[in-house]
Amino acid sequence: MTEAVLDPRFTLPVRTVEKATAEPRWVRLVLIGLALAFLGIFLFVPLAAVFYEALRKGVGVYWQAVIEPDALAAVRLTLLAAAISVPLNLVFGVAAAWAIAKFEFRGKNLLITLIDLPFSVSPVIAGLIFVLVFGLQGWFGEWLRDHDLKIIFAVPGIVLATIFVTFPFVARELIPLMQAQGTEEEEAAVVLGASGWQTLWRVTLPNVKWGLLYGVILSNARAMGEFGAVSVVSGHIRGLTNTLPLHVEILYNEYQFAAAFATASLLALLALVTLVLKVWVERRFAD
């Protein structure tokens, strides 16, 4: 088109009719209003309440709650649990996606379903299963006691429960992505003389890096925020086996609301960062 100049006559279009497949304006406004009202009372107001309650007694109280030794210990344990579970599940996700997406074998669909299993298990049950295996009355209970090892009501149990609940995140992002990409590029790399590891590092992973990052972000958010599963295996020992969400619960049950919400606001900030990263990755994905 050559004439890109806007004729002033056309800048104010005379629309006599609505577009054929559009709803009348008042319907649109009502629907938008209803949707926003629903999201408002279920999402925005509760989120705002976290920060409001956290700061209600002033910044001083807020700061005291955050730098209190037990709170800092909870932060450390939360970071530790995430730092162990996320990389492990990342390695697992890559291995599982490689096997499932690049090869054909019997029982593949069953395997995919089994990988998703932790998502359909209640967090409480996720904690319970580890109590049944490693608890005092569990399979390895006596052996562990005799060797003076503690898993349940100790850090290893918290890590195990966290791994369980974040188990599928990376794998379920990578599997469909790698399936969609097929095997041609990898085969080309191998034909050109690349080894298996070189192919993985230089061809496969760069192709799926955004999906991988997406899985890691979601997995990390869940790892740091998990409550139910961790609650069952933790034993709630302050300064030792309390993660941040458990710390929130204890403060709340002790009616230290300002401190509870102050700690909660840290987790809410984490959630906001997660959402921002998620949108950012999705943008990159779309390119």
């Binding site: 497949t21 999201l39 925005f44 107001v45 298990v121 409480v124 049950i125 009355q137 998620k278």
Partner: protein, 278 residues
């Protein structure tokens, strides 16, 4: 590897990748999960039956499944609405709203729990609006419904949204040229197309709600027979060292969850088939 069906592939690493996958899956998921089933075998059938049908347990099922079903229903209606508004209309702040739909995925459940309890208690921002009419939300079964609606909110939106985005405008235009009103077009053309995704979202939200613990316990009040959910009952039994009883309840919940998982897989298969057909 004899498992591989393809006659020949040049790609290496199948054995090690699958081997590691199966080992890790077994250690973290399958073996611990099987512990629940093995543990139940230590109970006689009568003891198991008594444990899972005690009146307090039955009351917890009613609340858990009833509130989960209602919450998933609310999310089906409003999730469809939110997805529709986000895909079809333009309004200021739309991208932020879109991003915030995932908040329940990202916000730790304990935080959601105390926030909802604060907002919906009788002196909270929203609870105080209902209090004058004698409606208590927090610390009643209604509070459970609120929490379960919150955590299930993204599922329907995120399953319906992509289908709605892919819906060819020609279908609706065709309906319009044939004389259908907007409402008829929605009911007869758009809705049937969205139905598999909508049901999938409903089932996902329902499955998630049944197992939910963190966000509920702060707002539920946790009164036995009234506002006590099944996951909480499992924890209560654990704290009383009634491992067999807790496990029996867990097995019931697991069986229900697995059934739901199967249904969800079937629904997704249906949805894919319907979308793939030209």
């Amino acid at each position: 590897m004899s498992l591989a069906l393809r006659r020949h592939t040049v790609l290496p690493g199948f054995g090690i990748a699958l081997g590691f996958t199966l080992l890790y899956l077994s250690l973290i998921v399958l073996i611990p999960l099987s512990a629940t089933f093995l543990k139940t075998f230590s109970l006689t059938w009568e003891a198991f039956w008594t444990a899972v049908t005690a009146p307090r347990v039955l009351a917890s099922y009613r609340l858990t499944f009833g509130a989960s079903f209602l919450a998933a229903g609310i999310n089906a209606v409003f999730g469809l609405l939110v997805a529709w508004v986000l895909v079809r209309y333009r309004f200021p702040g739309k991208r932020i709203v879109d991003a915030f739909v995932d908040l329940p995925f990202a916000l730790p459940t304990a935080v959601a729990g105390i926030a909802l309890a604060a907002v919906y208690s009788t002196n909270g921002w929203i609870g105080s609006l209902f209090a004058p009419y004698g409606i208590k939300i927090a610390f009643t079964p209604l509070g459970v419904l609120v929490a379960l609606t919150f955590i299930g909110l993204p599922f329907v939106v995120r399953t319906v949204q992509p289908v709605l985005e892919d819906l060819e405008p020609e279908l609706e235009e065709a309906a319009a040229t044939l004389g259908a009103s907007r409402l008829q077009t929605f009911a007869k053309i758009v809705f049937p197309t969205l139905l598999p995704a909508l049901l999938t979202g409903f089932a996902l939200a329902f499955a998630r709600a049944i197992g939910e613990y963190g966000s509920v316990i702060f707002i539920a009040g946790n009164l036995p027979m009234v506002s006590e959910i099944t996951p909480l009952l499992i924890i209560t039994k654990l704290e009383q060292y009634d491992y067999a009883g807790a496990t029996a309840l867990a097995v019931v919940m697991l069986l229900i969850s697995f059934t739901l998982l199967l249904i969800i897989n079937l629904l997704q298969w249906w949805a894919r088939r319907r979308r793939a057909a030209p």
